[in-house]
């Protein structure tokens, strides 16, 4: 049932209030973080109250302002938006807790900045998730770019500034050069900006133009990191782990994939996407991205770099699922959006935990670390299994649906791509796991500076406190839980996919 209600707006405003609270309480650290946590919980609650309304295919909408005579800045929550918003809210709370452990709770201005912009990023995420039309979407999409820039450059080092510049250049450049023209041309062809399930183009729209516009959309939505507009993501890995975790496993990249889903489902519609051959085009592009990203990840040794390229590949899984244009494909895509977020953030949390405990950031340095950091590496293992797609994790369920979708669509080549990429992911994740779990630990601080280390007792490597470990275990547990009992989530996803 379609209703009007202020709940979507409240869900957008709560994180803004959270941001204000963070600034007001900047000199009282635990309260500062509590602001973010409470805002996250409130946001999650608001999102949850809308689930009954959207479960039967309904929406909750609210118009904020008239932008142009027939175009509004308007919010409209539907099942797809709820899935994105709910995922982001849960992981926001957990990231805030994790950040307390990672950064500590000193009244450091950089940490205040982190929590402040994190809150605003969540507001932008909600804005994108609940956008009722392309203009509103573009507004929040661009706002998100600008307010995540200070997060990428949080440390202020020259390296961070360089990475941030690349991030901003790619995001703003692609959005202006391709996304904005795509939106304008969509309006000229369709006469509306509104999202309508099944598409908005009339039967007499020019096919060639629609193909061009579609390519513009894919290139313009750089947040989805489809090659060749992916290289901002590895560059942005200069940020501290909590930032990378939330932005590059959850908020920014999910928003990118979400926008592509909106374009396919609610601007073009599955039928038109198929008729114009855009489904196949997307399959080719995403397949190429998946394979190239996996091969690239194999060559890397830097843990965050591996995760970045792994993310690029996994995002393309989601877009590939939608482009299969079959119900199971869509279900797999949306479930993967949720599952990948929990799995990948688990991996990021674990990498951060390793870095805190040992100051190591390379895969080759992890020999035997499983015995020193048992909780961290347990979580890492669960996350990695999910990304590879092994049961009993959510990654397996999502991949199962993607395989079924490929069979439904008769895309046999996709099956090959999915299989090969599974093997490649297994290769780079299992290599790390084997070395971490089964090799003998290296002595702490060996190497060029370790000449005298043998004389001293090596400092013991231990887990860095409950605030770091607990969020990681929660996300790992959800990864397993969704792998075993995905039913309730699938009910919500099927509203969109079938």
């Amino acid at each position: 049932m379609d209703t009007t209600g202020l709940t979507p707006l409240l869900a957008l405003l709560v994180p803004v209030l959270g941001a204000a609270g963070v600034v007001l309480l900047r000199r009282h650290p635990p309260a500062r973080e509590l602001c973010g946590i409470l805002a996250g919980i409130a946001q999650l609650g608001l999102v949850a109250t809308m689930v009954p309304a959207v479960r039967d295919g309904g929406t909750v909408s609210v118009t904020l302002s008239t932008f142009l005579p027939e175009v509004s800045i308007a919010l409209r929550a539907d099942a797809l938006g709820i899935v994105l918003a709910g995922t982001a809210a849960v992981l926001w709370v957990l990231t805030t807790v994790y950040a307390m452990g990672y950064f500590g709770t000193a009244p450091d201005p950089a940490v205040t900045r982190f929590h402040f912009y994190l809150c605003l990023t969540m507001a932008a995420t909600i804005g994108v998730a609940f956008s009722a039309n392309l203009i509103t979407l573009f507004l929040f999409y661009e706002v998100m770019t600008v307010i995540t820039y200070p997060l990428v450059t949080l440390t202020g080092t020259p390296e961070a500034i360089r990475g941030g510049r690349r991030y901003l250049a790619y995001q703003l450049g692609s959005a202006i050069a391709f996304l904005l023209p795509a939106i304008v041309l969509t309006y000229i062809e369709a006469g509306t900006f509104d999202f309508v399930p099944g598409g908005i183009f009339g039967p007499d729209a020019s096919g060639v133009l629609l193909v061009i516009v579609y390519v513009f959309f894919l290139l313009g939505i750089a947040k989805a990191a489809l090659m060749p507009v992916h290289s901002w993501l590895p560059a942005a890995m200069v940020a501290p782990v909590p930032v990378s975790a939330l932005l590059h496993a959850v908020a920014v990249v999910n928003v990118g994939v979400f926008c592509v889903m909106r374009v396919v489902l609610d601007v073009y519609g599955s039928d038109l996407t198929g008729d114009l051959g855009l489904g196949v085009l997307t399959l080719v592009l995403t397949s190429a991205t998946i394979l190239v990203a996996s091969l690239y990840a194999l060559r890397l040794d830097n843990l965050k770099g591996i995760l970045a390229y792994s993310t690029i590949g996994q995002l393309s899984y989601m877009m590939l699922g939608v482009a299969l244009l079959s119900p199971a494909g869509r279900t797999g895509a949306i479930l993967h959006l949720v599952g990948h977020s929990f799995s990948k953030i688990t991996l990021f949390f674990a990498v951060g935990s390793i870095y805190l405990a040992t100051h190591r950031a390379l895969a080759s340095e992890l020999r035997g670390i499983g015995r020193q950091l048992p909780w961290t590496m347990t979580a890492f293992a669960i996350g990695a299994l999910s990304i590879i797609g092994l049961p009993p994790t959510v990654g397996f369920v999502a991949k199962y649906f993607l395989f079924v979708g490929a069979v439904e669509a008769g895309q046999w080549a996709v099956l090959v791509v999915l299989s090969v990429s599974t093997l490649l992911s297994a290769a780079y994740y299992l290599r790390i796991l084997r070395s971490a779990l089964f090799d003998a630990p290296v002595a702490a601080h060996t190497g060029s500076t370790g000449a005298t280390a043998g004389l001293l007792r090596p400092p013991t490597v231990t887990e860095r406190g409950a605030l770091v470990v607990a969020p990681m275990l929660v996300t790992a547990a959800v990864t397993l839980l969704l792998g075993v009992a995905p039913g309730w989530l699938l009910d919500l996803i099927r509203v969109v996919s079938e």
Binding site: S65, P69, I135, E142, I161, A177, P181
Partner: protein, 512 residues
Amino acid sequence: MNEIAAVEQVGFPLLSTLVFLPAATMVVLGFVRSARALRRVALGGAVAVLGLSLLLVIEFQTDAAEFQFAEQVPWVPAIGLSYHLAVDGVSVLFVPLTALLVVVVLLASWTSVRHQPKAYLMAVLAFETAAIGVFTSVDLILFFVFWELMLIPTYVLIKVWGSGSQRGRAALRYVLAMLLGSAALLVGFVLLGVSYRSAPESGGELSFDLLALMDSTRPGGNQTAVFFLLAFAFALKAPLFPFHSWLPATLLEGPIGMAVFLAGLKMGVFGFLRFVLPLTPDAFAAYNWLIAGLGVVAVLYGALIALVQLDLRRLLAFASISHVGLAMLGLSSLNAQGLQGALFLIVSLGLVSTGMLLVAGFIHQRVGTADLAALGGLARRTPALATFALIAALGAVALPGTSGFPGEFLILLGAFQAHGWLATIAVTTVILAAAYVLVFFERAFHGRVRSATVEAAVDLRPREAVTAGVLSVAILILGLFPAALLNYSSASIEDLVGRLDVATVATVATED
């Protein structure tokens, strides 16, 4: 074209009050001695004008295409001259914008002008009278008088209070360029007035009345001549490429206050909307390709040159040239979106350019230069200034949510429909704008502090902060609620597009 009289709407000649209140304040200033009192009286007058201009905005009937608040007194009936003021949807918003910019300029230069403050304040107020006269005159010759009157305070402001060593030359160059344009403008206006006599509606009389001229039939050959004369004058004022060379020098040498007026009030583009489009619609439609072409070249040229500037004021001058090109591209699309977009863009630029110029001024006052080589790390010392600069910069980048976006978006929408590929080129301006503005912001405000003057810089003082706050809020509100502004212009723009439509149809018919 019909009009609604001021007496019916507010009961008194509101527009005349707005035009002459600054002049009256000038006279009062003549009797004041202390510098403190001078500033207060001038600000009081400017604030009163701003308040009255808000009354204009409130009482304006947004659903009517007619000219409103009209007042007409015969002046030289023998040659069809009258003192005739009125505003429509195209011009009404420029009155509060002018009033706001004058208040902003007075506040921003509150303590920085020490040399002959009385003369400075009088010049600013004289400019305000002339500028509001320009925006509200609907008699061609009356318009011309105000247009010329602006030159005097402009010249004096640049020559006496300019910040550069070449300010004398810059002032002279500006005046000579404008006089050249004025000559063309006057010839064009006289041609219009004289040719009115042969129109069937005129009864053999001369007329320089915009409303009467809009309703009369105008022969095509005459239109072409008038079009080129007027277009030249307004292109020079705008300035539209290739008539732009006076702007960088003037912005660099003149005082910030004058720069705000020159870059913030896009009178050239206004002139096109006010006179060229309604009075020479056939010629405009016929030479539309020329305007669109020059617009696109200006967009690219201005943006590319802005990209390599190290001085913020020079950068803003070329950014302004680029933006004018975009507005002209909007006009040349001849549809409602393009015209609305152009109008919105120039109103928005009034706020955004002013914001950026104030940033340049604030930096200049603190560091002694706005050159990138000496800047860096300002955000650490002056967080409030950095925040203000960021909001203005995002407006210049046309980020959604700021006032820069709706105008550019509408122009792209209109231009895509009218020109297709030209619009694709114009899109690049937005990217280049993002590049030059954000690169400047980053280099000036982030990074290491490189000079002792930056180290010692103080943040915005309360008066400056209020000025910056008002502009920031306006930039954000217009960005989030653009319909509020578009409502004012939509009726008049629809009417104008109707005239252009008729013209286009007629042109096509004669060609067949």
